[in-house]
Amino acid sequence: MSAELMISARGVRKSFGEVEAVRGIDVSVQRGEAFGFLGPNGAGKSSTMRMISAVSPVSAGELRILGLDPATDGPEIRARIGVCPQEDTLDTELNVRENLYVYGRYFGLPRREVRARVDELLEFAQLTEKATTVVDHLSGGMKRRLTIARSLINRPEILILDEPTTGLDPQARHVIWDRLFRLKQQGVTLILTTHYMDEAEQLTDRLVVMDKGRIAAEGSPLGLIEQFSTREVAELRFGVGQHEALAEQVRDLAKRVEVLPDRLLMYSDDGESVVAGVHERGLTPLVTLVRRATLEDVFLRLTGRTLVD
């Protein structure tokens, strides 16, 4: 079977009373893909994740997960997916091993089988030494790894991760990225949300940018950057309150200029020559930085706002 459809959403909406959190999205995810939902808080990512996790009925549209309808086959779907929620839902009074064990039992696996999988997952999550530690005493990164390990107990065909590394320090994030990358190489379909563009670039093959409940753009991280941004960006910082006025003086030097409260972003395929041009006009920014364009720039272009406010 080629290109097996793991998730298919057509015009999916989600409303809570008057509030429309998801306003009609179309998404298809193939087996083995790592697919991302990128967007700021409140974009509708978590509502989408809950629908895909088969714990939240769609308000309108058609959603199929593993070819099944979550409205009628919720338990069957949930038996075959793994969910790592945004907020850890570990039992803080139980120890690491107990958390994995009781969760495995929910899936109807025999006790012996669960015990064997728990040992394997402790290794995978680098938590073997912490097996008998009560969850309350774990660091944030360890709790996150435990939550991910727990979501793998049923050997899911799709792993759904809602903000897997939010709130973690850089080192802890890299450990988790490494583990997720291994899973992807093993063929697990990954669905993740994030508001970190570097996370999306590292982990996803394809992503959608969500804004206000809609999909603003879809593509591969590089494809989106090529489509919606230049190759490089020159960031210039001037004195407080000068950016708006100065932007007019340099606008012609770049393909596009964005004015942020604390800096100018000048989009060009050659950032250094933009900086040189600015200096030639007698302007001396307090700080200059030339960098590669990222998904953050794509998001800014699409929505006029930054991702992390």
């Binding site: 949930r78 038996a79 969910v83 839902t89 570990l90 009074e93 039992r105 109807g108």
Partner: protein, 274 residues
């Protein structure tokens, strides 16, 4: 080892609500192993203290005829079955209030349960089942203490009185559960304890015959599940068993449990599957 293997038995959805609830047995057993110490006093020591204080010591001052004590030969024999039923009720109030809401707003254990193939019915059944197991165990201890003091008319009655504690527990557990999962915060519990549990405990016939109450209050008392539980427990314990009254009691308590069950499943679905 950094890879996870891909073979082995496959996870599956439970075929029945009961099968799903059974998958939660290990969770409840392991959780209880962490917290059982706190429940020992209430389950095992309290019954003895109540029977001694109310039945033996206070009862020593009560000089009433068998008729005025609904056929009990002594105040001890009258009050002990009432205490047993009331204890089943208070056990459930403790278990079906804060610990239930806590599974949603504090430790969030319900969220991980519903993320698995388990259905809402299984989650409710397992938790209520755990409460009823607690009621059964503390009821057994209570029954043993009462037997020690010679309260029971016979073995069959003792066994019957013990078994109906589970029904009394269910009659309180499911309506309270439905209420608990509807709350946003725990402030909603204090009024239920103060205005529901304590008046019922005091005035539903556990300590004195409800016929002693003014008529409107007596009628009100007869509509509480605790009175039905107390009267049923007492009739079985003392061998003053009346078939029609027994049926009414069983029907009343069962109705509470069944209606409460449906409300619980509906409310928890609304709360978790939004």
């Amino acid at each position: 080892m950094t890879e996870i293997s891909a073979d082995g038995p496959r996870a599956a959805a439970p075929r029945t609500v009961l099968e799903g609830a059974w998958r939660l047995a290990d969770f409840w057993a392991i959780s209880y192993r962490r917290t059982w110490k706190g429940s020992v006093i209430s389950s095992f020591v309290e019954p003895l203290l109540y029977v001694v204080a109310m039945g033996v010591l206070l009862g020593g001052f009560v000089d009433a005829s068998d008729d005025s004590l609904e056929g009990a030969g002594s105040y001890l024999a009258f009050v002990a079955p009432g205490l047993l039923a009331a204890h089943s009720m208070t056990t459930v109030f403790g278990e079906a209030s804060y610990p239930v809401l806590g599974k949603i707003i504090w430790d969030k254990a319900y969220f991980s349960m519903v993320a698995s193939p388990l259905g809402i019915g299984s989650v409710v059944l397992a938790h209520v089942g755990f409460m009823l197991l607690r009621v059964a165990v503390s009821g057994a201890v209570f029954t043993a203490v009462m037997a020690l003091f010679g309260v029971y008319a016979g073995v069959g009655g003792a066994l019957g009185a013990w078994l109906v504690q589970v029904l009394i527990g269910a009659a309180f557990a499911t309506p309270l559960y439905a209420y608990a999962v509807s709350l946003k915060t725990d402030v909603g519990f204090a009024p239920v304890f103060r205005l529901g549990m304590i008046p019922m405990f005091l005035f539903s016939g556990a300590f004195f015959p409800v016929a002693n109450l003014p008529v409107p209050l007596e009628v009100a008392a007869r509509f509480t599940p605790l009175w039905h539980g107390v009267d049923l427990t007492r009739m079985l314990s003392l061998g003053t068993f009346e078939p029609l009254a027994t049926l009414v009691h069983l029907a009343f308590l069962t109705a509470f449990a069944v209606v409460g069950w449906h409300l619980s499943v509906r409310q928890l679905t609304r709360r978790m599957m939004t």
